[in-house]
Amino acid sequence: MPEQDPQTRARNFEEVALGYTEEMAVEEAARCLACKNKPCVRGCPVNIDIPAFIQLVAERRFREAAEVVAQANALAAVCGRVCPQEEQCEKYCVMARVNGPVAIGRLERFVADWARENVAHNGDRPQPAPDAQRVAVVGSGPAGLTCAGDLAARGYRVCVFEALHELGGVLRYGIPEFRLPRSILDAQIESIRRMGVEFYTNTVVGRTFTIQQLLESGFDAVFIGTGAGAPVFLNIPGEELNGVYAANEFLTRVNLMKAKDFPLEGTPLKRPRRCAVIGAGNTAMDAARTALRLGAEEVTIVYRRSREEMPARAEEVHHAEEEGVKFQLLTNPVEFLGDENGWLKKMRCIRMELGEPDESGRRRPHPVPGSEFEMEVDTAIIAVGQTPNPLIRQTTEGLAVEKWGGIVVDEQTGATSIPGVFAGGDVATGAATVITAMGAGRRSAIAIDEYLKSKRGAG
């Protein structure tokens, strides 16, 4: 797939991957063997009929291909860009052993983009029946959007509540626009709005009102998809210094609040010059590549394990490296050092070595005694994970939660300990991927449909 040149793109916020042309898509689609047992579909959390849509692409029937995808995935243009296909559908592609798997993700992106550009929607918005049962969806990220869209399609009256002033959750505040352009995200949300879903921004459930109040105010069921938005810090000395950010804050300032356009936009951000990003997941890569685009001279990923254990997608690591991000592996920060005015100046690190595998199966890193050294930095971005926001669990009586803060759910249905209340996505699983959250939103929509049908029957 064509991409912007690394040198150029490292200084702009335009999308990195440029997408297939029609000819390229048709050619790639022709590689699909249309296996009868569809191994790829097994790898798809939302069960897109992959061989079917790819055959349609090969026959240049793009509109129909897009319809097949849209049936299973209301956010196909997003997933085609951010899904880790190499660990999902493409992993099971029989062509993988021949000359590489069929590029399913790129084809998904192609048909979704094609449909957005070439298919005019008729503009009518289905109105749920006046006596339709009502569902409240808390959070407008991937889980909430998917659940809301699926339920609206089944005729329910769905209201989505979002704490921030814009919709999309992590797709808006977390994922940078060079990976997911805002126009694509806006169009996807608009398509869900057209399905009849009502959206309310500026609403912090747990503060503005509670889950209990929703249940007492005419909502027959609630889906909680509030994600894992609370930052994890390292708890090492100096973390309070100016210049030390949680990745969430750094990315939110740039993505949601558009701080790169300060002072035209009101939200400021200190431009990083020498920047360390701690962690090696997708969020760390996003933060590092964003720091480069803000003009940083040097950006270094600092990670306590080795390359093999990095949780980020291979493609993201590759993109970051191409753009000039440096990697300081087997290294862990132990202290942030500042000047007398509280500004970050240096980061003291220690070298690590890998020992026996830990409970995650990855080799456990150990500090190498006496190997401390200092890095000169003015910005340090901590991207070592996120946990669920505590507001809902603190304000919802009777909601069972795990020790680490996640909501306890039935894995198949998302049912929580409260009848009529379902949950899914990162708030139940801990920080995972966009598509896993969407899969959970979809399964909960099916379960909520069944729950409401039985409620109707009983009523």
């Binding site: 704490a163 503005t208 009102f209 609370a230 309070e240 100016n242 969430n248 300060f262 936009e265 507001l391």
Partner: protein
């Protein structure tokens, strides 16, 4: 004035006491509840503005000590402002703010009948209102607006409230009448002696503590004032609550930008606060963190005045 709220969805009870059940949401869950119209605007001093804004969902659940995040216009920053008053029946909240930076000036430029772009709340943990006995409520500058609802709630809870309010000069003193009503006794201080007694609020507090037993102290105002009050009350053994306003983005515990060190632990002001035990706050760190965007704030002001 008619609230325009649907029947049955009007909030009941009083936001200070928390009595009365909170309204049902049905009538309020409509786009009209999200049109944050400015119903009243009044200048309390040259740079301090009071606004009454329609926000029925927020008014229905707000409690003293909580705050809002407001984005006055499409391109504005989100800024935290304390809720000075909530009128549940009318569906309004009141904010009082000083025009100091670009965003507060953008807000102050809006007029009655206009809307703020975004408003979300109530955020933060409400004040922990108890019956302490005698409480000194020390408010400085625009912090008096934050102090007022807490003083009212403390008085309602049966405390003897001694208000101590201060400003640089007479023209900058706000809410004297309201604080007088909320207090059993009110002491007014100005730095230049143009009104009340000449001196700092800490001097008045020291005098009060000499003359009678003070069981608890609330201190809300500029950071140096709160820090000075805490030094004094620590010496005198008076437990003290402060309300902090560090840099903040989302206000829901997501960004960690508002972290402050309290008792050696990192706390998020937006969800763990904004009120903390003043004797445990690491004031030096807080002071440094508050200066993080000082240069940018200047640039933003210049950019905006350049346009005007």
């Amino acid at each position: 004035m008619d609230s325009g709220l649907p029947e049955g969805s009007r909030g009941s009870g009083d936001w200070i006491s928390g009595n009365g059940h909170v309204c049902r949401l049905e009538g309020l869950l409509s786009p009209s509840s999200y049109r944050f119209e400015i119903l009243e605007k009044e200048r309390l001093s040259e740079s301090v503005v009071r606004m009454v804004i329609r926000a029925p969902l927020v008014a229905a659940s707000a409690r003293p000590g909580q705050f809002l995040l407001i984005r006055p216009q499409e391109r504005s920053e989100r800024i935290p402002l304390t809720i000075s008053h909530a009128d549940r029946a009318r569906g309004t909240i009141t904010i009082i703010f000083q025009e100091v930076g670009a965003t507060t000036r953008e807000l102050g430029a809006l007029e009655e009948g206009q809307q703020v772009k975004d408003l979300v709340g109530p955020l933060g943990t409400p004040s922990d209102i108890r019956r302490f006995g005698t409480v000194a409520c020390v408010g400085g500058g625009v912090g008096i607006a934050v102090m007022l609802p807490v003083a009212r709630a403390l008085k309602h809870a049966g405390n003897r409230v001694v208000g101590i309010i201060g400003a640089r000069t007479k023209d900058l003193l706000i809410l004297e009448r309201e604080m007088r009503e909320a207090s059993d006794e009110l002491i007014v201080m100005t730095d230049d002696g143009s009104y009340g007694s000449r001196g700092l609020v800490t001097e008045a507090l020291a005098g009060l503590a000499e003359r009678e037993r003070v069981d608890h102290c609330y201190a809300i105002g500029p950071l140096p004032m709160m820090h000075a009050v805490c030094r004094l009350t620590r010496e005198k053994g008076i437990p003290t609550t402060v309300s902090l306003d560090p840099v903040m983005v989302d206000g829901t515990g997501m960004c960690g930008g508002c972290r402050v060190t309290v008792g050696g632990e990192a706390k998020f002001t937006c969800v763990d606060g904004p009120e903390f035990d003043g004797h445990l706050v690491d004031w030096d760190t807080l002071r440094a963190r508050k200066t993080i965007y000082r240069e940018e704030e200047r640039a933003a002001l210049e950019a905006r005045s350049g346009k005007a």
